[in-house]
Symmetry: C2
Subunit: 168 residues, 2 copies
DNA sequence: CAAGAATGTCTGTCTCACAGATTATTTGTC
DNA sequence: GACAAATAATCTGTGAGACAGACATTCTTG
């Protein structure tokens, strides 16, 4: 865990000149920072940040089946297989038969999954708070709101090959 | 309530309930959206979005050497090798000997690199404008500003293994 | 009932990131 | 000046992960 005063003495490259105005880099940089901050918190959770989002979705029942959850997470359907496999093996989620469609499987968080998620969310909240600590509470909420609108608009894009190869 | 003319083009998963408040998902979603939007614009540019940022950094001389550019881009030093290799092979950047330190190599954009970058920036601006079209100009600038502060704070984190494995 | 679409899964393949070692050069220490 | 340690770039090998394509099952639509 790193604390505010605990910055690496490293002659920090800080923000790269000329890139700081590029939305490309701003999003990548923020995303990377968040990812790095989450890493230690998530610990041995299968598939790290993505596993966290999947568990989150499973707990909230945000998707009817595996395919829809995959779309929400922005991953390929074949990736979803071993993602859920590993979460299931860890006892955090379970595949339930959908009574309405025997092809579908409902992905739901187990009791242990809910418990784990709650514990993780406590700690991720701390991490996020630190990451956003330069922003006032109002600005933090504003940032979420703006990102939500951007992400919402981007939800319609073709996400094939969107995620993994680059930075991520 | 749905009306006759109100066609459900795609049963759009839209925003996943329960995830939309998670900064984790908001950043990932926005980042993915931007990545997807940029893909077609960048075309055959080596290494896509990351190559674009590298070219940008090379053009602005934001880094003294290859290692520092790698830090700014958030990539491993060994990754930087073939990233620059490919950009160099495409004639967009060049490795110059640093007169002050013969170990270092300055990564600079060639004439063709500047040209290509300028052309790309025109088109990426269009794409970004569309991605942000739900936001007013003031909000767009606000978003950039907020992200800059987040990314800036996150610049000090340990970025090892930050990027690739998870979405991105 | 037949044809087609959707869901989840499996297999094979291929790209990519990372650890570790290597070479060349610089910096620090005595 | 001589030596050790640190740093920059590179190369090799390996492993993880993403994707295309095919498949079995089930639903939907004509």
């Amino acid at each position: 865990m790193r604390y505010p005063g605990d910055m690496p003495e490293d002659p920090a490259p800080a923000l790269p000149a000329g890139l700081e105005e590029s939305l490309s880099w701003l999003l990548a940089g923020s995303f990377r920072a968040h990812l790095a901050a989450m890493r230690e918190v998530l610990g041995d959770l299968p598939h790290g940040s993505r596993g966290f989002e999947a568990l989150c979705g499973a707990a909230h029942g945000s998707a009817r089946n595996q395919a829809e959850l995959a779309k929400q997470l922005g991953v390929d359907r074949t990736v979803m297989v071993y993602l859920v496999d590993d979460l299931e093996r860890a006892g955090l989620v379970e595949r339930l038969a959908d009574p309405r469609d025997r092809r579908s499987k409902l992905i739901r968080a187990t009791e242990a999954g809910h418990e784990r998620l709650r514990a993780l969310q406590e700690r991720t909240a701390t991490v996020e708070a630190e990451l956003l600590s330069d922003l006032s509470p109002a600005e933090q909420e504003l940032l979420r709101s703006l990102l939500r609108r951007v992400a919402s608009r981007g939800a319609g894009y073709d996400l094939a090959h969107a995620c993994t190869k680059d930075e991520c």
